[in-house]
Amino acid sequence: MNKPENTSSTWLFEITPKNKFFSLNLKEVWQYRDLLFLFVKRDVITVYKQTVLGPLWYLIQPLFTSVTFTIIFNNVAGIDTGIVPPFLFNLAGITVWNYFTACLTGTSDTFKANAAIFGKVYFPRIITPLSVVISNLVKFGIQFLIFIGFYIFYYFQGADLSLNGLVLFFPLLIVIMGILGLGLGMLISAMVTKYRDFSHLIGFGIQLLMYLSAVMYPMELIKDKLPSYGWLVEFNPLAYIIETARFMLLNVGEVSFLGLSYTLVVTIAVFFIGLLVFNKTEKSFIDTV
C-alpha cells in the first residue's frame, strides 16, 4: 500500500464530543447546496398539494387579515394612516410581518419537526432552517405581488401614492428580516429540544410581538398617544424594519438611521448567538428531543 501517511493530519474528519467553539462549516453547506434547493422545492410544492385553491391560499390569508385590521383599527378605533388608504397601509405591514413570522415559526420547530430524519442521517442541520427562510421568501414574493396589484389599483383610483427612492434597498431590508427570523428561530429551536415550554411561548409570543412591531399603526402614533410605553416599540428592531418598509413603499412615516443601525446590530448579534447555540445542539439533540 502506498499510503504511508498515518499521522492525524491526514484524517478527512474527526467526530468528537464537542464542536470547536464556533464552527460554521460553509464548505460543507456548499456541498449540500442541492439538498437546500430540493428542500425549498419540496416545501413550496407540497404545502398546497391536494387543495382546490392551491397557491391562492398564499393570497387569501394576508387579504383577509388586512380587511379585518382595516375595519377594527382604522374604521372602529380610528387610527389615522394619513394620505395612504388604510387597507394598503395594513397590507404593506402585514406582508412584511408575515415573512418574519413564517421564518420564525418555521425555523423554531426545526429539531422537533425533523427529529425522524435527523435521527437517521447526517447533513449540515443548518440546511433545514435555511430552506425554511428561502421557501418563505418565495411565498413572500407571491404575497408581495398582490400588494403591488393593489398599489396600482389605488394609484389609478387617484390615491396620492409615491415610492421613496430608498425602495431600492427594500430587498436588503427583507434579507435583514429573514436573518433576524432565522437567528431567533435557531435559538428557540435549540431550546425547544430540551424544554418544550418554548414552543408554547412562541405561539402567543408572536401575536404579542405583532402589537409591538408597528404593523397596524405608524410608529409616531404610539409615541404620541402612549409616551410611557413608546419605548417598548422603540426597542423592538422589528418595528424599525416595518416602519422603514412602509417608508420605502408608501413614502409615509419616518426612517430613523439610528434605529436601523440598532436593528442591524441586533440582527447580527441574534444570528450569531442563534448559530452558536444551534451548532452546539445539533450534535446531541437526538438524545433529548
Binding site: 500500500m1 499510503k3 504511508p4 498515518n6 492525524s8 491526514t10 484524517w11 478527512l12 474528519f13 474527526e14 467526530i15 468528537t16 464530543p17 464537542k18 456541498q31 449540500y32 442541492d34 439538498l35 434547493f37 430540493l38 428542500f39 419540496r42 410544492i45 407540497t46 398539494k49 391536494q50 425522524a116 430524519i117 435527523f118 435521527g119 437517521k120 442521517v121 447526517y122 447533513f123 430540551k194 424544554y195 450534535k283 446531541s284 437526538i286 438524545d287 433529548t288
Partner: protein, 426 residues
C-alpha cells in the same frame, strides 16, 4: 505491508440519561454548567451503570457504549453483532454523525454515508422521481451524481411504472425498493448499514445482498454492517465484531466470532414461568404467565428434545383486552435468524383469565439446531398487541442416528420422508 486504516475509533463512550426529561434535568444541567465554569469535570460522567436492560440499575445514567476501540481497513466489510440493546445501533449512530459520543473520538479518511433506515426523508406527496433526488441529496449525493445514475436507480428499484406517481400511493414494499435503490448507488468510501435486509420480498433481498457484495468487492469500499441475520453476516463480512452490554467482547474471523456469540448466549431458555401478573412477560393487553417448549414424546416434558421428539409449544396467557377473540401466532426461526416457518390462528381467550394455548410441532421435522420462537399477538382486526422477538430459545439435539453418517444433515428442517425402492425388470 502497512495497514491502510480508513476508520479509527478511540475510547468511544456514550452515556444516556434514563427516565423522563423534567425538573431533574434542569437541576442536573445547572450543576453540570456550574462545574464547567469552575473548570471541574462533568460530575455525571463518573457514575452510570453498564447497559443491561433486563436488570434494574441504581443510577439514572447508563453507558450505552463504553470504551469502544477499533480500526477498520480500507475495503473491509465489518459485521457488528450482538443482542438487542448491546449498543450496535448507538455505535452506528455515532459513526454516521447523528449523535455525538460522550467521550472519545472517531477519525476517518473517507466520507461516511449511512443506511440506518432506508427511505429517510421520503415525502409522500412527491413522486418517485422527485423522491430519488430528495433522498439522494439527503444521503449526500449531488444533483449531478443522481442525474447520471437515475436510470440505473429506477431500473434497480423495479418501480419504473410508478416513478411519476406520488410515493404515498406506493405499497410499503415498493417504497423500500425505491429507497434501497437510491442508497445502493451511493458512492461513499464508507457505507454504514443497519438491518435493511429484513424488508422486501425474497427476490429483492437476494438482489440487495448481491448489490452489497458488489459494493464491497468490486468497488473496494468499506462497509459496516449490523444485522441479526447471522447467515447474511457470515456471507458478507470479512471480519466480525461482537458486542455485549456496550463493550466489544470479541472480534476477528466471522465464522469463529459468530459461533462464539451463538454459544455464549444461553440456549436453554426453554421455559419461562411467572407467579404474578405484574411480573409476567407482556404488556397491559397481553400477559404471558407461562411459556414452554415441552417434549411430548417423553413422560417428562422437560426431557431433552431430539429430532424424533414431538414438541408442544405451550403458553398460558391472560387476555386483558376487551375482546375475547385474539390472533396468536409465532415464527420459528433458527438462531441465525432465518425463519423456518410461521404459524398462527384466532382463538377465544376469556377476558382476564388464564387460557392455555398449545401448538404441536411434529416429530421428525426440525433439524438439529438452535431455534427461537418469535411470538406475536394481534387483535381480531390485526392490530398489534404484543410481540416478543426472542420469547423462547431451544435446542434440538441429534442423538439417535441410524444411517451411520455423523456429519450435520443439511437444511433448516429434517422431515422424515418416505422412500421406496424397487427392481426394474427390463
Amino acid at each position: 505491508m502497512k495497514k491502510d486504516i480508513i476508520l479509527k475509533a478511540e475510547n468511544i463512550s456514550k452515556q444516556y440519561r434514563l427516565g423522563q426529561v423534567g425538573t431533574g434535568t434542569l437541576s442536573h444541567d445547572i450543576n453540570r454548567w456550574w462545574c464547567k465554569i469552575r473548570g471541574k469535570e462533568n460530575p455525571y460522567l463518573k457514575i452510570g451503570d453498564t447497559n443491561d436492560r433486563s436488570t434494574k440499575g441504581t443510577s439514572d445514567y447508563v453507558w450505552a457504549l463504553q470504551d469502544i476501540n477499533f480500526e477498520v481497513e480500507r475495503g473491509e466489510v465489518l459485521g457488528i453483532i450482538g443482542k438487542n440493546g448491546a449498543g450496535k445501533s448507538t455505535l452506528l449512530k455515532i459513526l454516521s454523525k447523528v449523535t455525538a459520543p460522550t467521550t472519545g473520538s472517531i477519525k476517518s479518511r473517507g466520507r461516511i454515508a449511512s443506511l440506518l433506515e432506508v427511505g429517510t426523508g421520503f415525502n409522500g406527496e412527491m413522486t418517485g422521481r422527485e423522491n430519488i433526488f430528495l433522498n439522494g441529496a439527503i444521503l449526500g449525493m449531488t444533483k449531478k451524481e443522481i442525474t447520471s445514475k437515475l436510470d440505473e436507480i429506477i431500473e434497480f428499484s423495479g418501480c419504473e411504472r410508478y416513478i411519476d406517481t406520488p410515493v404515498k400511493r406506493y405499497s410499503s414494499g415498493m417504497t423500500v425498493r425505491l429507497a434501497f435503490a437510491v442508497a445502493a448507488f451511493l458512492e461513499p468510501e464508507i457505507l454504514v448499514i443497519d438491518e435493511v435486509l429484513a424488508v422486501g420480498d425474497a427476490e429483492f433481498q437476494k438482489k440487495a445482498i448481491g448489490k452489497m457484495q458488489d459494493i464491497s468487492r468490486e468497488g473496494g469500499r468499506t462497509v459496516l454492517f449490523v444485522s441479526h441475520n447471522m447467515a447474511a453476516i457470515e456471507t458478507l463480512c470479512t471480519r466480525v465484531v461482537s458486542m455485549e452490554h456496550g463493550k466489544i467482547c470479541s472480534s476477528g474471523d466471522p465464522t469463529k466470532v459468530i459461533s462464539d456469540y451463538l454459544q455464549s448466549n444461553s440456549f436453554s431458555e426453554r421455559i419461562i414461568n411467572f407467579d404474578s401478573i405484574s411480573k409476567a412477560k407482556g404488556n397491559d393487553k397481553i400477559r404471558i404467565m407461562y411459556a414452554g417448549i415441552e417434549n411430548a414424546s417423553s413422560n417428562n416434558k422437560n426431557d431433552i428434545i431430539d429430532v424424533t421428539s414431538l414438541i408442544n409449544f405451550k403458553m398460558n396467557i391472560i387476555n386483558q383486552t376487551n375482546k375475547e377473540l385474539i390472533s396468536v401466532g409465532f415464527d420459528l426461526k433458527t438462531i441465525k435468524g432465518d425463519i423456518v416457518f410461521g404459524s398462527g390462528g384466532k382463538f377465544n381467550c376469556k377476558l382476564n383469565k388464564a387460557s392455555e394455548i398449545c401448538c404441536e410441532i411434529p416429530s421428525n421435522f426440525l433439524n438439529d439446531d438452535v431455534y427461537q420462537i418469535h411470538v406475536y399477538f394481534h387483535t381480531n382486526e390485526m392490530n398489534p398487541l404484543f410481540s416478543d422477538y426472542e420469547l423462547l430459545t431451544f435446542e434440538v439435539k441429534d442423538i439417535i442416528r441410524e444411517s451411520g453418517y455423523l456429519g450435520k444433515v443439511n437444511g433448516m428442517i429434517r422431515p422424515s420422508l418416505s422412500w421406496s425402492t424397487k427392481d426394474i425388470i427390463s
